[in-house]
Symmetry: C2
Subunit: 103 residues, 2 copies
DNA sequence: CTTGTTCGTAAGACATGACTTACGGTAAGC
DNA sequence: GCTTACCGTAAGTCATGTCTTACGAACAAG
């Protein structure tokens, strides 16, 4: 739910691959594991981290669990980034001012 | 420069603290290290990672190096996130549709 | 009730990376 | 020129996290 967790979760390349695969739509764990170079339990562990970060959610469907993207974590990350982006642009403008003309 | 590097760089809490400290404005390495619970070389190493990710830039000023935020890496991250955010909202809407009314 | 899927968790091996101290290099001040 | 301040890099130690195999639980099918 916090942007820190989202950043930590999305840092790992394999976990990011899991997350990006969910972009194609909701999928069960086995389906995800079939297209990834890791074992199914490893996918489950990654999904747990993504779920704790608020990046994915799951629903039960028989014995299978369907995972899909959760906007919450993504939103938290986006808010933090936007807020940072603004001050960064200001600082960049001030820096450009400083290097070009110096009173 | 790529969003993968930016995510990896911002995942570490200490490195994120270094980055967020630069939000207050350009600062030399020693100044950053003074307010952080790690040694100065550690700060240098973190700055190197941030620099490679396009998140910060440095300029020489005497024997000191002033670091400031670089919008490039932040922009790459933002573009990736926005693009993801869109599809996530669509998927979320479709999911809401699915769970509410079922024909 | 038994069998077969699908999945999550536990335990352990292993790699990755973050931090420290030690060292060298560059610029400023006297 | 000599000393001092500031910084980056190298080497080594140590913790964190990712992967595997093994096991048990929940549900559907027969």
């Amino acid at each position: 739910m916090s942007y820190e967790q989202a950043l930590t979760a999305l840092a790992d390349p394999t976990r990011r691959a899991v997350f990006e695969r969910l972009r194609a739509g909701p999928q069960p764990v086995g389906e995800l594991a079939r297209h990834l170079p890791i074992s199914r339990p490893a996918v489950s562990q990654h999904l747990k981290v993504l779920k704790d970060a608020g990046l994915v959610t799951d629903r039960a469907e028989g014995t299978r669990r369907i995972y899909h993207i959760d906007p919450h974590g993504l939103g938290a990350l986006r808010r933090w980034l936007d807020q940072f982006w603004e001050t960064a642009l200001d600082a960049f403008a001030a820096e450009a001012e400083r290097t070009s003309d110096k009173p």
